[in-house]
Amino acid sequence: MLRAPAHRVSPQAIGFWTVSALMGDAVLVGGAAVAWLVVPGAPGWVGLVVLLLAVVAVAHVVLMPRIRYRVHRWEVTDTAVHTREGWIGRETRIAPISRVQTVDSRQGALMRMFGLASITVTTASAAGPITVDCLDAETAAHVVARLTAITAATEGDAT
């Protein structure tokens, strides 16, 4: 069996995921509610559907970030990058550092407010990019520097 990667992501990620899920779900539920109110003669059961949607959205906003925080893990050893992610499903990705081609870090406006950054490590395969979501910005900078140093020292075209 595979063991879980060693490190959790930043605890700030829970806040970030909550806020971004809230924004997305609010638009969806709000849109549905407005449509229900505006369209004349909509039958009563449509209101129930909107209510159900709202309940599901609340559950999503409350539960998803906490489950995610328990699932998401990452680890960079001297030979490999290993991540686990997902909240309903699970996805484990492993790539040897000797095959890493690029190391990107990304920080959106909302992520910056929570002091977070994401790292994406790509290999020569379109199926193989590995993303470590929501590290705290300082850790992310360290990891990028370390990965860049290791990959710069690797020879060959990594295919």
Binding site: R90, E91, R99
Partner: protein, 517 residues
Amino acid sequence: MIPAPGDGWVRLSPRKLLLDPVKAVGQAVVPVVVALIGISQSDMRFWPAVLPLVVLGPIVLGALPWLTTHYRVTDTQIQVRSGILNKTTSTAPLDRVRSVDLEASLLHRVLGLQKVQVGTGVDDDRITLDALAAADAHALRTSLLGRRVAVPAAAPLDGAPQPADPLAAGPAPAYADVPVPPPAPAVPLAAIDWSWLRFAPFSLGRLVLLVGGLGLLSQVADELPIWNEDTATSAWEWLTQFAVVAIVLTLAVGGLTLWLVVSVAGYVLQWWGFRLAREHGSLHLTSGLLTTRSITVEEAKVRGVEVTEPVLLRLVGGAELSTLATGVEDGVTQVLPPCPRTVAVGVGEAVLDHRGPLTAPLVEHGPKARRRAWFRQLRNALDVIVLLAVGWWWFELTWWWLVALGGALLVAAVVVGEASYRHLGHALAGEHLVAGSGTLARVRTVLETDGIIGWVVAQSWWQRRIGLADLTATTAAGTERVVVRDVRLEVAVALADAATPGLLGDFVVTEPAREQV
């Protein structure tokens, strides 16, 4: 005239001056004719001024590329310069040249020209020389590919492993100073056998073309004056009076005959003179009746093969073979026409230099995987049935038909589900990862473990409940992934660990297995 930059820069073949204007005229003929008709309807006085313009325009435009394009091969690079205002220079280091493909359309062949495409291992970046004289093109190809001759090209088929390290296939020191090394003997792997023509009608790739053509025809038929509703109705009544069966039979026979002709003609056009050989450490494929193709794939870049048996082809014992390579335009190159399975497997083994992977039995994925395969197809069938039911309800049709149709769909779903489970499987044969897949077609993908550059283990919620996972080996070759579907999680991890020893080493923990593996 635009002068050549000197220093060994040469132009493309002067016969391109004939090629491009003909092409340009071909492309310009519709707008020109439209313009001429427009002018002739308004006034005849402009004719003397317009005619030279429409005739000379394409010729001048066609000649410009020849005047402005130059190429040269230096000791280390191949360089191509083109453009007047925006000059672009493409260069490729000679030791990075991975493939040299030649192509000639009918027009090219009449003029004795070849289009040359040089691939450098970066997917989208190819240098194109359109067109060189055929002899120059072949000489260029030989010299470009000859420069990096290394390992003996003619490795015997005895299961001896090729050097796994791609760097080992670099230029051998002995040849380093020789511009054009002595040509290594080409080893033929396969050539066209016209008894394979029997597989042509069972390969449905060209059916799309035929259906498209028929669609076009039906559009034309709509425009015909005889085809209005009255004639249609009366014709239909007349038909039903007589022999519906005979008409249907005629249509079916006609369709089949058309399909036979189209498929066989397509096969002949595409695979005429087909020849696959191994030379200069590359696989070299030539074929084509009207448009000839010559494709070269460097063997060190070939990371695996894929044998596909589409359902119809499999009924008659046929198969197709593709190579999975890195640095080729789309990664998957079909290297054999539809041919007997034994031939596809034999050539595949020759390309791999290993006997096992294409014939080794696959490890089955067990009853839970079978259940998922069945459910996947049943769910698809149910989706269709629900849609049909809505349609039935809308149009108030007889429900008996829906019940019959739904029953047939469910039976088909079970059959397809069972078939897709039987195609499922995996194996680790020596240095090769083997994955079986496909729903209707049986596909066997073989990938060198050295070409694996990462792993993804994905589990949906349903898969987690029953302990299955989809294992994806990521690679730079072919479609860039090889998926082993619905395999037990612990088997997936063990397989990944065995295929790439050391990569998972730190992360694998021994746990008392809950079930016997």
